[in-house]
Every structure is written in C-alpha cells, then in structure tokens.
Amino acid sequence: MRFPEYSAPHLAPATSVGLVMRRVVYAVVPGAAVMALLFGWGVLLNMLLAVTTALICEALMLRLRGRPTGPYLRDCSAVLAALLLALALPPLLPWWITVLGVAFGLIFGKHLYGGLGFNPFNPAMVGYVVLLISFPREMTLWPAPAFIGGTGPDLWQTLVYVFSGHFPDQLQFDAISRATPLDEVRVRLGQDESLQAIRGGPAFGTLGAHGWEWINLLFLAGGLWLLRCRVIGWQIPVGVLAGIAVPALLFSLIGPDQYPGAAFHLLAGGAMLGAFFIATDPVSAATTRRGRLYYGLGIGILTWVIRTWGGYPDGIAFAVLLMNMAAPLIDQYTRPRIHGRGSA
C-alpha cells in the first residue's frame, strides 16, 4: 500500500484563522446587542453597511492583488475589522461616511501594506481616525441612550436619515442628540465646572455613565469568554485596563473634583471594546508575551492622557495607532531568553 508523504507534525491543527476571527465576532455580539437596544436601529445599520463594504473591498482588493478570494474571505478578518469600526461609530451617521471609513481602513490600512498579516496598523482604527479627523462634527454626534431620552428614531426615520442626511417629518437631530459622557465631562470640566456638579446630571449612572456601563460590562463578558477560549491572552487587555485605571485612580485621589475616577474611565467610553477587541488585534500588536503587556499599558496610559488633556473625548483609536508604531521596537526589546542560554 502506498501513502502520501507529508512533513511533521502530522497531527490535525487545533484551530484556524477563520475560527479565531469568528470567535471574536461571537464575543462581540452581546455588547453590540445592548448597544443596539440603547441607541436604536442605527447601530445595526452601521454594522450592516460596514460588513457589506468590507466584503466588497476585500474581494476587490484580493482580485486586484491576484490572491484567491475564497480562503481569504473565509478568514473573516475583514468582517471583524468592519464590525469593530462600526461599533466605534456614532449610530446615526450618513451612510457614505461609514462606507468611506471601512473602505479606507481596509484598502489603505491593510491591502496596500500587503494584506492579512502585513499591516502595521489596526485597519479598523485607521478608518476610524481618518473619519474622526475628516468629519469631526458628524463623528461626535451621538443620540441619547434610549432610556434617558426615551424616544429614539424608529427604523424608518433612521433609514431616511442615514441615506439622505435629514430626518423625515421635522424631527431634528438636536432634539435627540446629546454628547457622550466622556465628551460632556471633558467640555464641562474645560468650563471649570466641578465634577460633582457634572455627575449630578441624568447622563451619569452609579458606575460610569448611564447605558454605557452596560455596554462596557457586556463587552467585558465577551472578552472574558475570549480569554477562556484562549483566543486572546490576558496581557493586552490587562495592560490597557490597568493603563487607564491606575492613572485615573491616582489623579482622582489627588484632585477628586477635576479628575474622574477609574470606574468612570473604564465604563463610560470604549475602554472594554478597546481593551479586549481592538487592541488585541494580533497583526498590529506586539507579539512577545511581555511585549504585549507593555503594549497594552502604553495604549491604556495614552488613552487616559488623551482623554484627560487631549483634544478628543476618547483616545483609544489614537493610542492604538501610536502603539502600533512602537510594536516592532517593543518586540525587539522583549524577546524571551531562549531556554538553555544565558541572559540574552
């Protein structure tokens, strides 16, 4: 009897890129669902637009680059990047802005660098930052979460707004919009209001900010599940969360009236989504174990710095891109000592 010849190891591989990416997609679902409950149809519409754009861009770019589309589309990495970007976008955004962000992220942030595995920057965050810089007003207009304002736009109103830029029947954006908690705190602190006064407003819950704390807790749950399946390691999320929480805690002890505490920082913005889903993108992160901890810490600290003193309400996207740049250097200085060798 004759047999084919293969090289060792012969054991079936335990996992695949597709499986890894799909698990991350599953893990994002609970948080995304709560977000949709709070902010309405716009969240779902964003995700749908983003994923569709991603699939089209990915197929197109693969075709142009002469790569097989099948296996690369099945790896789900484009879908995941699009979903993460969509979750970072305000729920009511003109459709073309979403499309533009996703397309830019994937084409310029990923394929022009050589596609999967070769992009030095997180494609979702590339798309996000480009939009944030190009459309600062649109990108910071958030509707109030459902159980504060009570009445979000329905599906029809959302569709009309997203595709035409206006609400039907005299509904005004201003009537339903409100700044995100992070934004509000930043602006009002800038006007010398005390944190005590700001906190009294209806936007702030006991832990973080009304609504947002639930979103964050569910992203946290999804992230913990990923940790348990060993899809991600603990180093990056722990680094990011510690990087945000520790300075927040210290400064809030020093100046409780000017600096919001750790809980607020962790639960009011995109901290959990960033820590467990965005910063953990393996391609653009540091790759050594110790390096990942530093990488995460860097993102966390930068995020807190940007939130506290920078020009943007949330700093995760910038922090991630900055640390992407540092990743190769971090890797170089955190190579583990090879077993059997003296200190290397």
Binding site: M1, F3, P4, Y6, A8, L11, S16, P71, H339
Partner: protein, 528 residues
C-alpha cells in the same frame, strides 16, 4: 536529596493521548519472517561494513555488520538462516545497504554469543565493551550508540541519572508495555548504569496517567529491594519526554544551548535502552529486536509487537489486523515528530518505536498556509522559548544570519508551534529547511575558505621559490665574478664577456646614482 517538587518547563501542549488504543494490548511476539532485510545503519554515526558474505550461514545474534570506526554500533542477525544478498534496499528515510537473510525457521541462537556477566560487579570498561559488541543504542528513537554515551558520561562524571519512561507523543505505548510487563528488567538495567557511574541520585520518570506502569515499577523495586531509584510522575504534557524538557522539569536546570546533559552532570537513558543493556550483560544477548507500537485509526487491532529487526513493516501491520478502509497515512514514530512513510515495504530498525496509521480525521492532509497573523500561539507553545513567528519571518526572507541569531539552532523541532498555528504555516518544515540551508552555506564557506587558503599558500610558495631561485642565481653570479676577478681577466672568453657585462652594469648604476635624488635602484638594475 529527596526531590519531590517538579519545576515544569515553558510552553508545551496538552495533546490528545491516543494511548487507550493500544495500552491494553500485551506485547505479542512477531513470527520470524521468511526474509530479514537488515539495514547496515540503524544508529546515528557511521554505517556498518558487512562482516558476512553472500552464502554464509548465520545464527541469531551473529554479527553481520561492524562500524568502521568509533562512531557506530554493531548489527546482528535477528534469526538463523543464510545470507542471500548484500544490496541496497529501501529503508526508512531513503535507500541503504542491507544484509538480506533467508531464515531457516529454526531460529537457533549463535553458539558464540559473549558470555553472561555478573551485573553485580561489572566494571564500567566491561560494560562499555559489552554495550558495543551487543549493538545497544538509544531505543527511544534517537539511536545514539549507548557505549559512546556511557564512555562520555564516565569521563565527565555524572551526578544524576534519569531513566526516561515518558512517551509524550500521542499513541506510542511500547515503553509503557515494556515497563508493565518487564519492570524487573528495567529496574535491574537502571541499577546497572547507576552502579557503574556511581551517581548520587537516580530518577525514573513516567507520565502521571501511566499508573499501572508505576505500580509495576514500584513492585519491581520492592521485589529487588532497591531503594536508590525513585519513580517520578510528571504531567502528561508534550514534549515532556524530550531530554532537555525532562531535565528541566525534574531539576529546574537548563541544559546549555548547544551542550549536552553531561555538561551539567546528568545522563538520560530510555527505559528500552536499560532493558536492552540488561539483556546484553546478563545473557550476552545482542539487540536483535525491539518492541514497536502499531496503532492509529488506520489499523484494525492496535498492538504492541516485539519483532526482529529487519522484519518488513507490512507484516507488523498484518499482525495488528491490517489496514482499515480509512487508512490514509503511515508514520514511523508519533504524530508530532514522526517520519511520513510512503510505503510499508521497509524493514524494522532499532529506532522504530511506533507505526502510526492515521485516517483523514486524525492526520489530515496539510491545509494551505495563510499569512502569519502574529497571534503568538506558536511562541506560547514553544518549550525553548523561541519566537517561531520571528523565525518564520526570517525564513520567508531567507535571512540565514537573523535565523541563527534568533535561536534557530536551539529549535528541537518538536512541532508544538506548527500544531497550534491558526494559519497552518508548516513552521517545522521551514525551520528544518533553514537549518539545512545554513549547514550548506557553512560548508560552502568552509570550502571557499580552504580554497582561499590553498591559493594563498600556493602564491606564497611560488613567491618563495622565485626568491630562492633568484638568490641562487645571484650567488652563482657573485661566485663567477669573484672567480673571474681572481683569474684577472684570464683567457676564458665567456668569463671575459660576463666581466664586461658586469662592468657595464656597474657603470650604469654609478651614473644614475649621484645627485639626482632618485637613487633607488630599479628592478632592471638588479636583474642585469
């Protein structure tokens, strides 16, 4: 002295065990095949030269091959019969010279086996000599000649002896069965090595799920009244049976990169090796067979078979009930580091501990590789703490120097990284290819260096010869000149002519010398 704590090792994997397929199957003895094809190289080192001729009658245990030098192990006839050919034959890993014996079925032992020795007071020298003459090699698969290992150990001095009973690759159970059924041989063989090396401590390592083997060993220890050998169970975690990883988890010490366990005063032997050594000493019995596990979803009745070296693998498969319909792949060794075989028409050798026949579920054809996503799963699994993703990156770029500085030489090719890689990158194959490329380049460089040196030597020699010739000519010339001077322009016309030429040259030199600031004599002057 009693060490009970384990130290662990970095990385590693929990793999499926596949032990229950064959660990219940008692060792069965394979019948003597009609034809034994005995390869002349079954060990690391130099291939043996045949010491029999076609037509010779041989008995079981007769030496048929002997290594040309120090680095090798003797090879013996595995049954009685007639040598019918000395020819190349396909073997595991290619094609090699073999001694082909048509067996006579009598299976008579050779009358000239070495005499049994008293294991109680055998000197190291005698033991080494006996291991050599009986062809004992590392039976765990490494097949390094045991006598050489022992000689080196004696020279270096050993404090800790580790007997390795760990089969960390899925599916392999030959050592497990050996321990369960012949624990006494294992214990006495261990004692043999221990007493010869006068070590401080002797450990016998098993995996923690091998409880029956442990019981058997403890029983044998009690029966033999042996108290100086301690049985240690380690977690079943791949590659815990690999020498370096085993040492690290037992002692917390690392074998230096590029070095040997002996460098830190330790020696590892496989349980099969000590059992073979025991037989060689107490019965004068050379290694003529081994226990091999035949297992996997691709055979009907997985088995542990003691078979003669040189038995065709196909006959072992038959003994295990033959192939199932789903048999798709044949591997010598385990699924992690085993060698893929294209045919079963190959002879059994000393290093073949397992025949694994897989189906498409357990051992599927490799899937197409995707780009590395830098997920780091490979680095988490690497027991040497390498960064396989970086090695892969350098291998893609054919960057041999970076590969080397990133620790390629320390890779033990365990395959842990490749199994966990979500991109299905054939990392081990890349690393092996890169090692070959580096070796070739080094060889090439060495050759070039030698050629350069040869060239330089030749140039030097030519130069020296030229100078010597010149010197000689000059001396001759001077002698001549002196002679002609003393003859004061005698009547020899040749001498007179030379005299005249010398005079001319001298005048010319004198003319060009004074005042002109370019007084250096030119080469032409010298040559006149």
């Amino acid at each position: 002295m009693m060490r009970s704590r384990l130290f662990g090792f970095p990385g590693g994997l929990r793999l499926p065990r596949w032990k229950d397929l064959s660990d219940h199957a008692a060792i069965m003895t394979a019948p003597v095949p009609d034809k034994l094809i005995i390869p002349l190289q079954q060990h690391t080192g130099d291939a043996c030269r045949p010491v029999v001729a076609v037509g010779d009658r041989v008995s079981r245990g007769d030496r048929v091959g002997q290594p040309p030098g120090y680095y090798g192990a003797c090879i013996h006839a595995a049954s009685s019969g007639t040598v019918i050919a000395l020819e190349n034959h396909p073997v595991i890993g290619g094609s090699a010279p073999c001694v082909v014996i048509r067996t006579d079925g009598a299976d008579t032992w050779s009358p000239c086996l070495p005499p049994p020795l008293d294991p109680g007071n055998i000197g190291t020298e005698t033991l080494i000599e006996r291991l050599w003459s009986c062809g004992v090699v590392g039976m765990g698969g490494a097949t390094f000649p045991t006598d050489i290992k022992l000689a080196a150990a004696r020279a270096a001095g050993v404090r800790l002896l580790i007997i390795n009973g760990i089969e960390c690759e899925p599916g392999i159970t030959c050592d497990d069965r050996l321990i369960r059924e012949r624990a006494r041989e294992v214990v006495l063989g261990t004692r043999l090595f221990r007493d010869c090396l006068a070590v401080d401590e002797t450990l016998l390592a098993l995996e923690e799920d091998r409880t029956e083997a442990r019981t058997a060993l403890e029983q044998a220890l009690a029966d033999t009244g042996e108290t100086g050998i301690r049985v240690v169970s380690v977690p079943a975690r791949y590659p815990s049976g690999s020498e370096r990883q085993l040492i690290e988890q037992l002692t917390g010490r690392e074998v230096p990169s590029g070095g040997l366990p002996l460098d830190i005063g330790m020696l590892c032997q496989n349980v099969g090796t000590v059992a073979a050594a025991w037989r060689a000493v107490t019965r004068g019995e050379p290694v003529t067979g081994r226990i091999v596990t035949v297992t996997g979803q691709g055979v009907c009745r997985p088995a542990n078979i003691e078979a003669r070296l040189g038995t065709p693998l196909a006959e072992l498969i038959e003994l295990a009930g033959g192939y199932t319909d789903s048999a798709a792949r044949l591997v010598m060794g385990g699924p992690m580091m085993g060698v893929s075989l294209t045919t079963d028409a190959l002879p059994l050798t000393k290093g073949c501990n397992c025949l694994l026949v897989g189906d498409n579920g357990d051992l599927p054809a490799p899937q197409p590789a995707m780009p590395c996503i830098r997920c780091g799963a490979c680095a988490d699994a690497c027991p040497v703490l390498l960064l396989p993703q970086q090695l892969h990156w350098h291998a893609l770029g054919q960057n041999l120097d970076s590969l080397r500085s990133a620790g390629l030489d320390d890779c033990i090719e365990c395959g842990a990284c490749a199994v966990v890689c979500p991109s299905h990158i054939p990392l081990v194959r890349e690393f092996r290819d890169a090692k070959t490329a580096i070796a070739m380049r080094d060889l090439e460089r060495e050759r070039a260096e030698r050629a350069r040196q040869r060239f330089a030597f030749r140039q030097q020699r030519l130069e020296r010869e030229r100078r010597e010739a010149e010197e000689q000519r000059r001396r001759k010339k001077e002698a001549l000149a002196r002679a002609s001077e003393s003859a004061s322009g005698g009547d020899d016309p040749r001498k007179a002519a030379i005299q005249a030429a010398v005079e001319r040259a001298r005048r010319k030199r004198a003319a060009s010398r004074p005042g002109h600031g370019q007084s250096v004599p030119t080469a032409d002057d010298e040559r006149t």
